[in-house]
């Protein structure tokens, strides 16, 4: 699924260079549920942006589904993001004044075939909302939904193009503990039921425990990478 080799990322801030990633090598199999932990500034987000094709590494290789994507041009990366990857963010990033359903439809406006027909868009978005248990909130606008519900809408949006990789950067950062667990349950279910590869960044221990594999980042390097004995990896496909 994912294979990164000696991945490095440098940022130039003024005169000095920030080495956000200093050579990360790891691979993630299909349907694995990986949680990434580590202190703030350790390069977790940077790593995830590269995994999500939102950014390109300064050095190293990134092979996604057998395809080297580390040097693809921006428009190609956009295609990969649309078709293969789903994102969930800490701040939900839903469009205001737009219904949950339309928010979920958003990726379907940018498919390879162009804008998906309205009826089909609606259909697929409803099915994605169903997967997160929010069909009854389809017409609600974000400001009419609780934080947990908003994050579930965001997950539905990430699912609507049926990606094989789901990336979440601190998805529970803005949620209380109870809803955090609800959200993580959804991820766990998606991993085991649908075989979607999931990478979740968090700095909460109990949230990290949902992963079948826990990776620890420190200073732009992986310092520990271990299977989570507490959970059985759900090997599907």
């Amino acid at each position: 699924m994912i294979a990164v080799h000696d991945l490095a990322k440098q940022y130039h801030v003024g005169d000095h260079v920030v080495n956000a990633l200093k050579g990360v090598t790891m691979s993630v199999g299909a349907a694995e549920f990986v949680t990434i932990v580590g202190p703030s500034g350790s390069g977790k987000s940077t790593f995830m942006h590269i995994l999500g094709c939102l950014d390109r590494p300064t050095n190293g290789r990134y092979v996604l589904n057998g395809r080297d994507v580390s040097t693809l041009p921006p428009d190609e990366l956009a295609r990969v993001r649309n078709e293969t990857i789903g994102f969930v963010f800490q701040g939900f990033n839903l469009l205001a004044r737009t219904s949950a359903l339309e928010n979920v439809e958003l990726p379907l406006l940018y498919t390879r075939q162009g804008v998906v027909r309205a009826a089909e868009r609606r259909d697929r978005a409803m099915r994605a909302l169903e997967a997160v248990g929010l069909t009854d909130r389809a017409d609600h606008h974000p400001n009419q939904l609780s934080g947990g519900q908003q994050q579930r809408v965001a997950i539905a949006r990430a699912l609507v193009t049926q990606p094989s990789l789901l990336l979440a950067d601190e998805p529970t950062g803005n949620l209380d503990s109870a809803t955090s667990h609800e959200v993580m349950e959804i991820f766990a279910r998606l991993s085991s039921d649908r075989g979607i590869t999931i990478v979740v960044i968090t700095h909460e221990r109990d949230i990290a425990a949902y992963g079948t594999r826990i990776v620890d980042f420190r200073d732009g390097l992986v310092v520990s990478d271990r299977a989570n004995e507490a959970r059985e990896p759900a090997r599907v496909g």
Binding site: D55, P74, N93
Partner: protein, 510 residues
Amino acid sequence: MQKFLRHPVVDTAIKALSRNRLQTVLTMLGIAVGVATVLAMMAVGAGAQRSIEQQVRAAGLNQITIRAGNWRPKITDSDEAVAHQGDARESLRHPLDRRNPDVLPIAFHPEDDPMEKHDHPTARQRLGDLEAGLGSAATMTFDDAEALRQLPGVQYVAGGIHENVRVHLDPSTGSGSPRATSRGDQKRWFTRMHGTDVMMPSIKRAWTFTSGRFFTEREQDRASQVVVLGQVVADKLFGPGAAPVGREVMLWNQTFEVIGVVTSATWVVQPAPGDDQFDAVYMPYTTTQRLLNLSKLNDITVTAESSGDISRLSREITKLLRIRHGIGDHEADDFTLITQATKALTTGGLPPSVARAVASNVAELEKVTLEQLAMTMERASRTMTWLLAAVAAVSLLVGGIGIMNITLLSVTERTSEIGLRMAVGARGKDVMRQFLFEAVVISAAGGLAGIVVGVIASIGIARTLQWATVVSPLSVVLAFGIATAVGVFFGWYPARRASKLDPIVALRRD
């Protein structure tokens, strides 16, 4: 439409624009003012263009008249020509125009004393070529006219015979109004007769027929006794608003059927008693030749395809006629060329206001040819057009900067939205299209409003300033196109900026 409004790009645009409603409306207003001005500008420009064209046609700028006889010394030097324009003026004046009674209108029939009665075509009127005063000068023939028709650059040719006549209502059919019978001067009118060619209405393009028609080729071939009345003559004989077509009038004791009434097609020239065009009657020159026993023509009128071609064509005509008339190198012409430039200036084919405007611009009106006059008018309208163009350009610029401003604002406000769209698969060009579309929506909506305002303004200008305006469909399309182009042009930079955003940076913003 419903489907269009539901399209995600449109839907997003509407949501985005309603977010900054006041700014959006103000920006649209700027564009609307610009577009309205563009439209008014084109309307005024086209109107002025049309006025000038009418003016030029009415004055016959492209017209050359060749008169039989050399009644003016041949002049080659242009300064001298100006000096002699005074002569031309007197000669061209209508016989009834007695403002200068001491100067005899030498180009006219010596018998043409308006004070005298001479209603018998077989008596003094019917003199034949020699006695008719054409004498040795009676050199112009129908064949000359035919030869001139073959010259390159010639548009129309019409031979003419001109007489002063008394037109009577036919006592047998001319019941007229009771007032006409009780007052002699109304049932009889002393006027100008033009025996002319079927081509005449094509030459006098500023003519329009109040009723009826001009005579036909057939009537000309048969020398039929049909007559077209100028508006003044029709009014004087039959009373204003009457329908003279089909009625009969008497000329030289002969019965003529009235087949049409002609008047001016332009406000520039108004029919007035004493003018040569509408205080006149027209009949086939063949009819005149038959009744007055004439075989020659008084003059031939030639129009050039292009008014700029007049000088060249004049030389060609002179050359051709000299050869045809067998005139030796050192002999004088037996004809006289009159271009309408001299004529229009001396007889005043222009409204006084225009003449005054022109006169204030140039030192000596006498020196102005009509070509220059047309240029001056064109310059005036061009000044007006440029003025409006400047206003339009400024308001479109302001509107365009407004569009750029509001779009930049929108890009800034929606940075995280842009980041999100990119994260879910939007490419740079998708983002660019969205913002360009929003810019164009503003400008096109402003454009539509501007078109409405512009059309109303054009009508208003026409009503209040008495300046003809013409709103053509093309100008409406053009105005809308300009509005859209402004949207694209000024939306480009912000849209491009949005499309170049780094999705990570954009996502982080909130």
